[in-house]
């Protein structure tokens, strides 16, 4: 009995703590699920208290979502919009980073161009989009360019901060040991800029996808923004919500599956303490 008792006691802690670990790991996800479920219930309640075509319940929205998914429309328009978001993001990040690093490392150039940056920062997105379509026509290049131009000033400002914070001693080490140009960018410049790139990316994606919808609404014949415009004219709120929620979900999944893992990989050297 005693032997069994001690055995049991020795076995118990690991399973107990194992279960507890699993519980603590699942807790945040569980909280999120319960929280979203609560929102849906509230929404459902409100929709049944005030029944209206302008305020469909979650059930109706889900029906539309399934319908649009079955017809393939949902994925087509999501894909088109996602492509525009990606293209505008890449263009804005590359151009913005190059300009930002140049300004951040040349004080005189920065002093001259700073007013331009401030000017561009304050031009409303809508103006850039309208002018883009007028000057370059209702085409894909104008659409993506307009979105990128809206984002570039933010990237410039963030990357300029990053360039100002560069530690010259690493560059001097690279000079002494004759690093090549590409090696300097890859091993000296980019790792130091990484936190700024991450910050610019985060705010970038959030801003860009919202502007892309406007661009699509004003001058494209496909994409989530176009669909929302279409259903706005048909006064179909359920479809508008279905497309919006689907796109938000896609952006969250990208954040979770792409942005966060990349960031974890880039900062792996930071997390192990001395």
């Amino acid at each position: 009995m005693t032997a069994l008792g001690t055995d049991g006691a020795r076995d118990a802690p690991p399973t107990m703590s194992g279960r507890r670990n699993l519980a603590t790991a699942l807790m945040p996800a569980l909280t999120v699920a319960v929280s979203l479920l609560g929102l849906c219930l509230l929404w459902n309640l409100a929709a049944s208290v005030w029944p209206s075509r302008a305020f469909p319940g979650p059930g109706q929205v889900w029906q539309v979502l399934l319908r649009e998914a079955a017809s393939g429309d949902l994925f087509y328009h999501l894909g088109v919009t996602l492509g525009r978001v990606a293209a505008a993001y890449i263009v804005a990040m590359i151009i913005g980073s190059v300009i930002g690093v140049l300004l951040g490392s040349h004080r005189r150039v920065d002093r001259f161009f700073n007013p331009w940056v401030i000017l561009f920062l304050n031009i409303p997105a809508l103006v850039v989009i309208v002018l883009g379509y007028i000057w370059f026509g209702l085409n894909e290049v104008a659409a993506i360019g307009a979105v990128a131009v809206n984002k570039i000033p933010n990237v410039v400002v963030t990357m300029r901060e990053g360039a100002r914070a560069l530690d010259p001693s690493y560059a001097e080490m690279a000079t002494v040991y004759r690093f090549g140009r590409l090696e300097r960018i890859r091993h000296i410049l980019l790792p130091q800029l990484q936190p700024y790139l991450a910050a610019a990316s985060r705010s970038g994606i959030a801003l860009i996808w919202k502007i892309v919808l406007v661009v699509e609404l004003l001058g494209r014949s496909n994409g989530v923004g176009f669909q929302i415009h279409l259903y706005f004219q048909l006064f179909d709120v359920a479809a508008i919500l279905a497309y919006t929620l689907a796109f938000v979900a896609v952006m969250l999944v990208i954040e979770l599956l792409l942005v966060q893992p990349v960031e974890r990989h880039a900062t792996r050297w930071r997390r192990r303490p001395a």
């Binding site: 001097e172 080490m173 002494v176 040991y177 004759r178 091993h187 930071r270 001395a274």
Partner: protein, 246 residues
């Protein structure tokens, strides 16, 4: 003209180096500083803090081009230079081994570094990131990087400061071991006379600012014979020649 294949020593002839601050104040750090280091020789620049030792090394490393005068680095063989900076200056986002290999020219990138890492006691730390190293270990990694490149000339800027004396002493011996395995023309900056006497073939003694050479003290005795008795003799004769230098 130098005969083909001959090795030129390190020759320094800096007429003047002046810093201008933003407020227009100018500080002359170096004035008429000239000295030579012979091929394969380990030399020390000895001078008080703030006299311009780091400034001199930065000029020789090509990091500061705003000076008048000239210098000549050893030619022949590899014309690479290597430096151990006052701070270890390892890339925090690369492992110890990556830090060393990145400094190597393409032709040596894949070279076997086991011996070097073993000698410096870094064999178990090749895959660690610099943040995981103590200052003493980081300094060893910086030494490994410099020696791995098989340079024609090696510059060291007070590589043992802000270590406790025991760690510093161990590192000095490690430095001698790797240097003796492949004697390279080396110029080390220090304000520590005992360290200079222990490591160098010649000590170039610098005056306070504006810096120039006070004199040269040659230590002809092989390093393995520099025991504590010999060291105190060396100290005495050094003080005899340079009574004002501590």
């Amino acid at each position: 003209m130098q005969p083909v294949g001959a090795v030129v020593p390190l020759k320094v002839d800096i007429a003047e180096k002046t810093f201008r601050s933003a407020r227009g104040v100018s500080i002359t750090a170096l004035q008429d500083l000239s000295f030579e280091v012979r091929q394969g020789e380990f030399a020390c620049l000895l001078g008080p803090s703030g006299c311009g030792k780091t400034t001199t090394l930065r000029i020789l490393l090509g990091l500061d081009k705003d000076f008048s005068g000239s210098f000549q680095l050893p030619q022949g063989g590899s014309n690479r230079i290597a430096a151990v900076f006052q701070e270890p200056t390892l890339l925090p986002w690369r492992t110890v081994e990556q830090n060393v290999r990145l400094a190597l020219p393409k032709s040596l990138r894949a070279k076997n570094l086991d011996r070097l890492f073993d000698t410096l006691g870094l064999a178990g730390m090749r895959s660690l990131y610099p943040a995981e190293l103590s200052l003493g270990l980081a300094r060893r990694a910086a030494l490994a990087r410099a020696f791995a490149t098989e340079p024609a000339v090696l510059f060291l800027d007070e590589p043992f400061v802000s270590l406790d004396e025991q760690t510093a002493e161990r590192l000095r011996h490690l430095l001698l071991t790797v240097w003796s395995a492949r004697p390279t023309t080396a110029l080390m900056v220090t304000h520590n006379l005992r360290e200079a006497l222990m490591l160098s073939d010649r000590i170039i003694v610098l005056a306070p600012r504006p810096t120039h050479v006070l004199g040269v003290f040659d230590v002809r005795l092989p390093r393995q014979h520099r025991n504590s008795q010999v060291m105190s003799d060396l100290l005495r004769s050094f003080h005899h020649r340079f009574p004002d230098v501590t």
